[in-house]
Point group: C2
Chain length 200, copies 2
């Protein structure tokens, strides 16, 4: 099997959510694995020109409409969450902690967190919501709770974000395959072309 | 024939250029006309959150690579222009002046201006370059030269930009059909779905 695809996302990113529902199937069609990486964009990317939420009223209204229309276009359930955006440090810490133990379990957790926020409107900034999500997946509630505040878990996430930044990641979703970066759900067709035919 | 598609673009926008090479054929497949509108994004959109050039070094480098890759993806000739960006007031004034006389001639001029900048690397901020482009299309050089500085032509462009802003346009390319806005070359698949099947 060729090199895996790195998939970087912020749990508060609607386009990250939409991509999370598409990337594994796309990769599988080309015999590729996907490595999922939860990052927190507002932690350090803003000074670099990162922009989680476009500024300006017109743009904000457009993005709301665009996320709903894009979800409909791809047939993915979507409901505009409120509050939006939310802090995603705890969700990302729990994800990376799980990912180091069991990537498949972490992926199931990531899907559940994204859907809780973007389909069911639950506030994934609240640790109680995240623990309930873990519970439903039969992930040990106490262990996840400990992971939220464990200095090692905090350092683990920070290192993940530093590495993402060093690799050129500045938004969500962001994909890297064979050193080539693809920013946004919109770039999945180009990523797929890359997998099919190589660099262009 | 159903309502036309409004196509807003800035001559300094690489994604606007790429869209300019695609929109007429797409519209024709669905029996739609396209109304082309040259606007100048840095004239007044920046305070509204418009962003012609993404901030931040990583993002700038990414966009350079992305424009080249996207052009290759669609099979459209493209060469990174320098200087970039350039002021496009004169090009936009000439376009709107032509458009009021002859939309087809204006469209030919727009294609020539875009290609001069994004394929041949000519500086379309210079009026001499624009006059040479007009010349090559057998558009009267003296009349275009007069239009550059005519207060009526300046007012015409300003009104076009004000109207674009009032309609929610904040970037390039931006399309409006039946009141629905689509921002970016990336949204042409959704625009096409809209033309095929109506609102979604």
């Amino acid at each position: 099997m060729s090199a895996p695809i790195d998939f970087y996302f912020d749990f508060s990113s609607p386009y990250g959510y939409l991509a999370s529902e598409r990337i594994d199937e796309l990769a599988a069609r080309h015999g590729r694995a996907v490595m999922w990486h939860a990052i927190v964009l507002d932690a350090q990317f803003q000074p670099q020109g990162g922009m989680k939420i476009p500024a300006g009223l017109m743009r904000t209204e457009y993005v709301q409409r665009d996320t709903e229309r894009t979800a409909a276009f791809f047939g993915i359930p979507f409901k505009q969450p409120s509050p939006y955006p939310v802090h995603t440090e705890h969700a990302a810490r729990a994800f990376q902690w799980l990912s180091d133990r069991d990537p498949e379990e972490a992926r199931a957790f990531a899907h559940a967190v994204f859907r809780a926020y973007f389909v069911d409107g639950r506030n994934i900034a609240e640790t109680s919501v995240l623990l309930d999500i873990a519970d439903a997946l039969k992930i040990d509630r106490e262990e996840v709770s400990d992971a939220f505040s464990d200095p090692a878990t905090k350092a683990r996430l920070k290192a993940e974000i530093d590495l993402a930044e060093a690799r050129g990641v500045f938004g969500s979703p962001y994909f890297i395959v064979e050193g080539e970066g693809f920013w946004g759900n919109d770039r999945l067709p180009q990523l797929e072309r890359w997998l099919e035919k190589g660099p262009f």
